[in-house]
């Protein structure tokens, strides 16, 4: 049972996270030139949500990474510092995003999320410290030193209210390198080194030189708690000087006691498990945790928690704001009451310190309105400086993030998320319905009957089915924007690595394509864009020399054209080297006709052959000769086509034609040799009967035909397929003019049957790909009709 509930939660988690990460990536890339306040707020909000969700699912590494990034943006938001190195910032945050993505991929593949974020966190912290103008380069990039400086933000902010005569309270845990030996002596030396700076020292083990202490230090690290007037960074520097130091954790601030009563939303179920999660999260940074009911795993606890709320108390050095922020992240939180209990020696401050905040659930209206959610979340962590002022006033904002965190994955209030499997099933059923309708209304039993009323009803039925079908199809349509914006990242990364200056222009990203197709688009587009940036666009100085603007442009455009979507990737680079491609093609023995017969356009299409790369140098990105053929394969899987046009010195244009949807096509049913075939209407230009005197043969026996002054090739379908013909006289059959990429051919078939919507089924895998056949479909009477792939007639 427990497993089951986790599964569905996990699904939701992965879905949400993927969306957030995508959103985040877009924002970061857009913001590289300088973040607007809105961007910063948004990034902060997303990081915050990721942190919360990950913590709830117990993925600590993800949660910690998000936390460090959140800190960074918190600072940017609050202090609005000038002269921020946005490029480094973007690199850093993208690394965080990559880490999270990577972990998500692992989680999705049911592997353990075992990535270690300490390195990246340390670097984020270092960058933050640099921004704040303290101790720069304290943890230089890629230094593998382990440092989980939990209190980097809190030291400064806390200190205002808490510095007393003896300074701030610190806890440090120090680890020595394995095998360095004599840990106790080293610990003693360390104490001696820092003893001038610190007071009230308590260590674990108490007596460092006693027998057995060495073992403890080896295993659990050397723990010191002390007071010092020095800042966090000064202390950290002091400890850092220790010889054979493997790593250390340093935290500051006094331990504070909190008492919390927490209520979950009604009907959220499994209150005890949720309570357990809360406690588990606290264990990361709190001690002395007590909760009531004591045994939360027990079923009876659920009832108690539902009735009385979940009560617990703990001690931590975090301040009230941090604690409340963390707790408010709890999922299905209805209300929470956090109280800080002062320790005895601070009795005089107790009254002032008494913190009580009643937090109310955000009403439904708030939580479903995207805009409000955003606002609330942004306000949720009021600056610590104002803490005293609002200690006793109610702070409904603080509750917002919890509810907001759950709801905000859905971009607007009208969206629901549906399992893609169900949509697929709906589509399949839709297909069956279309067939069943044809079976009924074209039933052979009805032939020759005069059925006026039946026909009326049948028409009505067909109309409704058509509407339903349109709706089902539109449900599966996804805009290309996500796929397109992913390309921003690729261009950006490549520019950084290759030292080029390229901007990606995106046009028509709102164009919608079937979900199944979009999945096949991302890889090909990535390859093409890599090629454009790597091979196409020249280095800035080269470009300047030949009078082009230094900044190269790659245009990514999508638009609807009939039943297809056309995607164009165009760069203003150096264009394809026709001669080079031709030579390569010759080397690889790809030439099929005399050399001088190849047009430039034909030569360019060779780049789609496997193993043909004109780049002599293998780079990180391309030049291995795989790529364009992969592109070709991917595009062909979804029934699309790709072609390339290029002018030397002017640039290259890749044109992808993708069908809007895979599943249902408008087809023309034709008959040939006793079998019925379906030709997609979108490729048919016209149909006509030919006269014998229009037709002639060239010396090679190729049949041709003149029509309105133009000459067209004739393809006899039975010849092409090697089938037994029924009609061979050109005047008895029908000619169908087919168009593909600007070329035309006339297909000779026995007769036309009629137009019909057909549900495309793939050919069984056992049968190898047949040239000229793209799939098959079931007709109303249960017969199978093969669907003709018009492209097959053109690449003989």
């Amino acid at each position: 049972m427990a497993d089951f509930s986790r599964e569905s939660m996990l699904d939701m988690f992965i879905y949400e996270m993927n969306q957030l990460v995508e959103q985040l990536e877009q924002l970061i890339i857009q913001g590289e030139q300088g973040y607007s306040m809105d961007d910063i707020n948004e990034i902060f909000r997303i990081m915050h949500t990721i942190k919360g969700s990950a913590a709830m699912m117990l993925y600590d590494n993800v949660s910690k990474t998000a936390h460090s990034a959140e800190d960074l943006f918190f600072f940017l938001r609050e202090e609005n510092p000038q002269n921020v190195d946005y490029s480094t910032l973007t690199d850093l945050v993208l690394e965080c995003v990559d880490f999270i993505k990577n972990e998500l991929a692992k989680i999705e593949a049911s592997e353990n999320s075992d990535g270690n974020p300490t390195d990246i966190i340390a670097r984020v912290k270092a960058f933050l410290a640099q921004l704040k103008g303290e101790a720069p380069a304290d943890a230089p990039p890629a230094k593998s030193e382990k440092k989980t400086a939990q209190a980097s933000t809190s030291t400064k902010t806390d200190s205002a209210g808490q510095i007393e005569a003896k300074g701030t309270h610190y806890n440090a845990k120090i680890f020595f390198e394995e095998g360095c030996e004599m840990e106790s002596v080293r610990a003693f030396t360390l104490l001696q080194n820092i003893k001038d700076a610190i007071t009230d020292v308590v260590t674990i083990p108490e007596d460092v030189v006693a027998d057995g202490s060495e073992e403890i230090i080896k295993k659990e690290g050397f723990q010191i708690s002390f007071f010092s007037e020095k800042t966090y960074d000064e202390i950290s520097d002091l400890i850092d000087q220790t010889v054979y130091l493997k790593g250390f954790e340093l935290s500051s601030g006094d331990l504070k006691n909190y008492k919390v009563v927490l209520f979950f939303e009604e009907g959220c179920e499994m209150e005890n498990v949720r309570a357990y999660t809360v406690i588990h999260n606290l264990q990361g940074y709190c001690t002395n945790i007590k909760h009531e009911p004591e045994d939360i795993i027990d079923e009876a606890a659920t009832e108690l928690i539902r009735k009385n709320g979940f009560k617990f108390s703990f001690s931590t050095d975090k301040n009230y704001e941090e604690v409340s922020k963390d707790l408010c992240n709890t999922v299905f939180l209805k209300a929470i009451d956090i109280e800080e209990i002062s320790s005895e020696e601070e009795e005089e401050k107790q009254e002032e310190n008494e913190l009580k905040k009643d937090i109310q659930t955000v009403s439904e209206t708030v939580s479903v309105q995207g805009d409000n959610v955003g606002d609330n979340t942004v306000r949720q962590a009021p600056p610590v400086k104002t803490q005293l002022a609002q200690k006793t006033e109610k702070s409904p904002q603080a509750a917002a993030p919890s509810a907001a965190a759950q709801k905000k994955a859905a971009p607007t209030q009208h969206m629901i998320s549906v399992n893609i499997g169900k949509l697929d099933q709906l589509l399949n059923l839709m297909g069956e319905l279309v067939i069943a309708e044809a079976m009924t209304t074209q039933n052979p039993d009805l032939e020759g009957l005069d059925l006026e009323n039946f026909n009326k009803s049948a028409r009505q039925l067909r109309k409704i089915i058509n509407d339903v079908q349109d709706t089902v199809m539109s449900m599966r349509m996804v805009s290309l924007s996500t796929t397109f914006f992913k390309m921003n990242r690729i261009v950006r990364d490549m520019c950084k690595n290759l030292g080029k200056d390229v901007q990606l222009e995106v046009v028509g990203e709102e164009t919608e394509v079937d979900k199944n197709i979009i999945e096949h688009l991302s890889d090909p587009l990535m390859h093409i864009i890599r090629n454009s940036v790597d091979h196409g666009i020249e280095m800035p100085d080269e470009r300047k020399a030949i009078g082009k603007p230094e900044k190269g442009t790659v245009l990514l455009e999508a638009r609807n054209a009939g039943g297809e979507v056309i995607i164009i990737v165009k760069d203003d680079g150096q264009g394809l080297d026709t001669q080079k491609i031709f030579n390569k093609a010759k080397e690889n023995g790809l030439l099929k006709k005399p050399e001088n017969e190849y047009t430039e356009r034909e030569i360019h299409q060779f780049i789609f052959h496997p193993g043909l790369s004109t780049n002599d140098q293998v780079t990180n990105y391309s030049g291995r000769g795989v790529g364009m053929d992969v592109v070709m394969n991917n595009i062909e899987t979804v029934g699309g086509t790709i072609s390339v046009e290029s002018e030397k010195g002017e640039g290259t244009t890749n044109i992808l034609k993708i069908p809007l949807t895979l599943a249902i096509v408008e087809g023309m049913l034709i008959k040939m040799g006793g079998a019925k075939y379906t030709i997609p209407i979108s490729s048919i230009q016209e149909t006509f009967k030919a006269k014998q005197d229009q037709v002639f043969k060239d010396p090679d026996g190729n049949e041709m035909l003149t029509l309105r002054g133009d000459v067209y090739n004739i393809v006899r379908l039975y010849d092409f397929f090697g089938a037994k013909p029924e009609v061979t006289n050109i005047e008895e059959g029908v000619l169908i003019m087919l168009e593909n990429e600007g070329q035309h051919v006339c297909l000779f078939v026995d007769e036309l049957i009629g137009e019909q919507q057909v549900v495309v089924k793939t050919m069984p895998g056992y049968i190898n790909r047949v040239k000229g056949i793209s799939g098959c479909t079931l007709l109303g009477n249960g017969d199978i009709s093969l669907i003709i792939d018009v492209g097959g007639f053109f690449d003989k």
């Binding site: 049972m1 089951f4 069956e432 079998a675 092409f720 397929f721 090697g722 089938a723 089924k761 050919m763 069984p764 895998g765 056992y766 049968i767 190898n768 047949v770 040239k771 000229g772 056949i773 098959c776 079931l778 249960g782 017969d783 199978i784 009709s785 093969l786």
Partner: protein, 158 residues
Amino acid sequence: MAMENEQDEIVRETKEDTTKDRYLTFEIDNEEYGVDISNVIEIITMSAITWVPETPDFLKGVINLRGSIVPVIDARLRFKKPEKEYDSLTCIIVVEYENYTVGVIVDTVNEVMFIPEDKISLPPNAKLKYQNKFIKSIGKVGKDVQLLLDVDKFLFLD
């Protein structure tokens, strides 16, 4: 949940029991062959076949099996025996092998036979005739001899 799983287990177990050492026998050109019943999905009567271009001769085309498209092989042609007109006895054995579902057209289907492992021997080494290559082993039931089909080779050998 747990209950369902248990039931699943039971079903699987019984299924395994019923298919072990059992062979569906069929006739081609008066010769009796057997195929491991765990490969067999169902037996259907002859139905309309749609011819597919550019395929080997023995691949007769595709049929519509309740909405799914299934390729069919004529076993006679596969064994390079003379083609025979389909009649009322002609059957299609639908076999599933490594995620491929394929129909096999046979002259007639006989029975399901139990052949224990110790009654099965390898075919003689000498490759006398071409059809040998599709035969995995030979089962003996009383005086009769069953040629047991190697489904993998039958479907995929060029």
